[in-house]
């Protein structure tokens, strides 16, 4: 009798975590062969072509200016073209595009992971198998994460191939920059993926789940920035007049920076754009989205790719921790889900 018991499985044939890996592998294959995923991936790729072209054109312009030698103006040496072009700069148009189209791709991947299984009744069948609930939700999250990583790095490989064909060989610093940018991109996409996964666990109908995810997306991308602009007007007040004292001006600057950092904190899109831009341009010292300002370190200072991450460590922390927090919520919701 004991040999017929399906729950009694020899330990050798079931290594720890095999259920997890099975679910993750199945999810990864499902994503990579899903028509919706492929369509959105192609859309994302097509959307990225234009900024990539512009980046390439900018690279060649700087290259030509550098080859022509430094230009001495009455105000000193012209900065433009005084240093060789950086291959990482070619990617600088990507964050803006990925932060909208990529977010919708990630939502489209995650919105039906649990709700569809619930709707079609396959969740019940899945749960009568010898696989634990936590393995299912973790496997689903990991499968999606692997799919996103595959997508980002496939795109990266293609773009690097184009760079090599164009005769641009990124040096080690540029390569690290691009790698950090890719990691930030995966983290950002993972945020919306886990958001959709969480909503999918809470909302039982697939269509409703997608809608709620879209509402959240619009709250983050449209409402937060607009509220930020209003908050800037209300909290920071008018720009000090030219005759204002230095103390007044400093006060204004401090309040502006506070509003900027709070708004950036609550807008995943801005947060990602900031981190990704700082990865690609290590000289970035400060960036304000509301005011549209950017400050860079002087050109004679050498900066390494990880330096900017250290400068914006709070944003990096938020970018990488937010998906984990959302995954935690999805995990709890799935554990307590009432499947009947």
């Amino acid at each position: 009798m004991s040999t017929d018991n399906p729950l009694h499985i020899p330990a050798s044939s079931r290594p720890a975590g095999s259920g997890l890996l099975t679910v993750a592998r199945k999810e990864l294959t499902d994503h990579l062969t899903s028509r919706t995923f492929l369509v959105f991936a192609v859309l994302l790729l097509v959307v990225c072509i234009l900024p990539f072209q512009q980046g390439l054109a900018g690279y060649w312009t700087i290259q030509a200016a550098y080859a022509a030698g430094p230009v001495v103006t009455p105000w000193g040496v012209e900065e433009f073209g005084s240093v060789p072009p950086n291959a990482a700069d070619i990617y600088s148009g990507f964050p803006k595009i990925i932060s909208t189209v990529g977010a919708i791709l990630a939502i489209a991947m995650g919105f039906d992971l649990v709700s569809r299984e619930w709707q079609t009744g396959s969740l019940k069948l899945l749960l009568v198998r010898p696989v634990f609930r936590d393995q299912i939700i973790t496997g689903k999250a990991l499968g999606g994460l692997f799919a996103l990583t595959t997508l980002v790095f496939a795109g990266l490989a293609v773009s690097l191939g184009v760079l090599l064909v164009e005769g641009i060989v990124p040096d080690s610093d540029a390569l690290i920059s691009i790698l950090l940018f890719a990691l930030a991109t995966v983290a950002f996409l993972a945020f919306y993926f886990s958001l959709a996964l969480t909503i999918s666990t809470v909302v039982p109908r697939t269509g409703k789940a997608f809608l709620y995810a879209l509402v959240a997306f619009f709250v983050f991308t449209a409402l937060v920035p607009t509220v930020g602009v209003v908050a800037k007007d209300v909290v920071v007040g008018a720009h000090p007049l030219p005759g204002a004292s230095p103390a007044e001006r400093e006060d204004y600057q401090a309040r502006l920076e506070l509003v900027e950092s709070v708004a950036t904190f609550f807008s995943p899109q801005w947060n990602y754009e900031l981190v990704a831009t700082s990865a690609l341009e290590p000289r970035l010292a400060a960036y304000g989205f509301i005011g549209g300002s950017a400050a860079y370190l002087p050109y004679d200072v050498t900066a390494h790719p990880a330096d900017a991450f250290a400068r914006f460590w709070q944003n990096v922390l938020v970018l990488f921790m937010a998906p984990l927090v959302l995954y935690g919520i999805a995990f709890l919701a799935f554990q307590r889900m009432d499947v009947r």
Partner: protein, 344 residues
């Protein structure tokens, strides 16, 4: 069919379905949530629009005062430059919110129209009743359209309220332009409503239908404009070079002609490609309506200079046709698909 069952669409049955659909949407929590979000975004945009209007008005008054105190030669220069700020600006500041958020609202209304009833299996029950299929789809489309007409009126009503609270007045001409903007907005929303209904008829799962409709939205809002610009640039060739400072007059004349032909080709090609996209059509029409006001109402100029509306609308007939054809095609596809759907 026997003689006692007429083979005509019974409008009362269509009306019943449309009314039910309308009420369902208006009491749906997700839809209301989106409408509230839309309203908040509109109010924030209005706040900016009103502030911009006030600033422009102050500037206008300053310029007028300076003109009154200055010598006549300078005055003629100044009077031609400032436009009397128009209340229309406030209404148009609302249009941008509609451009981005409107399609999502329209898709939200349309995506579950058929697939929702299919996945909950209520469609079979519905069709076992004495009602024809075409009446069902027509009623649903009419109900959804009514909801969208109402939803697209929300920003303009909010703007009207803001304008009245601020104590500004609206001329009949302005009101007509705003009404046309609203009409363009309704057609724009209908375009994405049609896309969502079509996918809803093809997909058994509401979420999938929504995902596909969003993909179409991305295609038309980001990719088509980029392609249009790229194609137009390559079709127009290189930008004519600025002639040297000491160039003879005929050289400059040639440059000006080349430049105008360059921009004519560029705009022509770009607009033709954008006609395929509801976003492009809507943006062009709104821009045209805004320019309409700019063109006529300069300070000191007579109001009689305002160009006739029908004449200007005639110039943009492609965009209007495009904006009407897009939803028609998708709704027709949805209609045919729904008539043939195999329900088991």
């Amino acid at each position: 069919m026997s003689g006692d069952v007429p083979m005509t669409i019974d409008l009362s049955r269509v009306a019943i379905i449309a009314r039910k659909e309308f009420a369902d949407h208006l009491t749906d929590r997700t839809f209301l949530l989106m409408l509230v979000l839309f309203g908040i975004l509109t109010v924030l945009a209005l706040e900016q629009g009103l502030a911009g209007y006030t600033r422009a008005m102050e500037w206008y008054v300053t310029v007028l005062e300076r003109t009154a105190h200055s010598v006549s030669s300078e005055a003629s220069l100044l009077t031609s430059s400032p436009n009397l700020p128009s209340v229309l600006w406030i209404f148009l500041s609302v249009g941008n919110t509609l451009l981005i958020f409107g399609p999502v609202l329209a898709i939200a209304v349309g995506f579950d129209l058929i697939s929702g009833e299919r996945s909950t299996r209520s469609l079979r029950t519905l069709l076992s009743r004495p009602v024809y299929r075409d009446e069902v789809i027509t009623g649903k489309a009419v109900g959804g359209t009514a909801v969208l007409v109402l939803a697209s009126a929300v920003p303009y009503l909010l703007a009207l309220g803001a304008v009245l609270v601020a104590g500004l007045t609206i001329t009949p001409y302005d009101a007509m332009i705003v009404a046309l903007c609203w009409g363009a907005g309704v057609l724009y929303l209908l375009a994405y409503f049609g896309v969502a209904v079509a996918f809803s008829a093809f997909s058994e799962d509401g979420g999938r239908a929504l995902a596909w409709a969003m993909a179409i939205f991305i295609l038309f809002s980001t990719i088509v404009p980029a392609v249009a610009e790229d194609t137009a640039r390559s079709a127009a060739g290189p930008i004519p070079e600025w002639p040297p400072d000491d160039a003879p007059p005929d050289e400059i004349q040639r440059y000006l002609e080349e430049r105008s032909s360059y921009y004519a080709t560029y705009n022509g090609v770009r607009n033709t490609i954008l006609t395929l996209s509801p976003n492009g059509n809507y943006e062009t029409l709104i821009q045209m309506l805004a320019d309409l006001h700019h063109g006529g109402d300069t300070a000191g100029g007579a109001v009689a200079e305002l160009p006739g509306l029908d004449e200007v609308l005639g110039r943009f007939w492609q965009n209007i046709v495009g904006l009407i054809a897009f939803p028609t095609i998708f709704l027709a596809v949805a209609y045919v698909r729904f008539m043939r759907i195999d329900l088991r």
